[in-house]
Symmetry: C2
Subunit: 205 residues, 2 copies
């Protein structure tokens, strides 16, 4: 997750408002922000940890956090190694025509879960949310703010319907990729799109 | 999970083919069978552990296992403290008229997951299946044999459709009861029946 140190630096780490002393390089600063973010998200949840508070805890200027990560969502994705970037995911699904939202959502989920490297961290996160209330709070708030709310706003779909559609996909993914129940574990993506997209479309359409 | 010792015993433990020596009481015998069953299920999976092999490992007559637990399903439910008894669950869902299978399934799932005492062991089992391949194999085989296959046979519904319907319910339960995502966490059961039953019915009908 570390970025290569930019040769010569771009000076951003020098705008950090730090006092005199050894100036940390961009990689060090970036890691300090992520560490502070992890602590704050765990302590205050996603909603309760502001970008400004994260900057303060890392002893850097908020502009620097913005520079590195864009927004709070970006900080969270990097800090928690969240395996899905809502910045990419949400526009992809919501960019579909309204009458193909179901199909697009099923295809996107199958693509993400079908990739073992992306599935492992999703599962790790889901497991910890199932064990640990703190982790559950963080995940719930992030998923609500970054995924559900945005989707609801774009297409004016009631949140409850989005929950039901996402529930469909999470449950199918658990049976298919984790429990490996047959025949859903061996079905092709196309079979699943054909079977499940109409139900998801019914929620979202 | 222990049964009260029946006063005076009913003699069943004496048909166990044991050699001479101290004769275990029914509770002891029952526990020995369950311990042997847990070992065998873990080692060979649900499909691979026969009732006969469980009896052999517990050093009792197979008729005694049958007497205590009915069948292999019953042994599994008790040995793994499986929170749902397929003997009761499956007939309840499948007893519904075909055009109300969706509604009945949603209501049954919400009732089971809505009860915290039953939810805890389901979650524990799901968590271990998510962490441990051996646990996943056991759960997959049991769920397939005891729930899915039976449901498929009764109503001649393709297994893949049953998987999709169960996936819908598992995912909704995770969002509602575990991650507690809003608004699905606070929705009433009736709202959820109205929203989700049509999708489940579409799979099963």
């Amino acid at each position: 997750m570390t970025e290569p140190v930019r040769p010569g630096g771009n000076g951003t780490d020098r705008r950090s408002g730090r006092g005199p002393g050894r100036r940390p390089g961009p990689t060090e600063t970036r890691e300090a922000i992520l560490a502070a973010a992890r602590d704050l998200f765990a302590e205050k949840g996603y909603d309760g940890a502001s970008l400004r508070a994260i900057a303060r805890a890392a002893d850097v200027d908020p502009a620097l956090v913005h520079h590195f990560f864009g927004n709070k969502e970006g900080v969270f994705v990097q800090a928690m190694q969240f395996p899905v970037d809502p910045e990419k995911l949400v526009p992809r699904i919501l960019g579909a025509p309204r009458d193909r939202l179901g199909e697009t959502m099923v295809r996107t989920f199958l693509e993400i879960w079908g990739d073992e490297e992306r599935r492992a961290p999703i599962l790790a996160m889901l497991r910890s949310a199932m064990t640990n209330e703190q982790a559950a709070v963080m995940m719930r708030q992030f998923v609500s703010a970054a995924l559900f709310r945005r989707a609801a706003e774009t297409h004016r779909i009631p949140m409850l319907r989005i929950n039901a559609a996402v529930g469909q996909m999470i449950g199918v993914a658990l049976l298919r990729y984790v429990l490996k129940v047959e025949p859903i574990a061996s079905a092709t993506d196309e079979e699943l799109v054909e079977l499940i997209a109409p139900a998801v479309q019914q929620y979202l359409g």
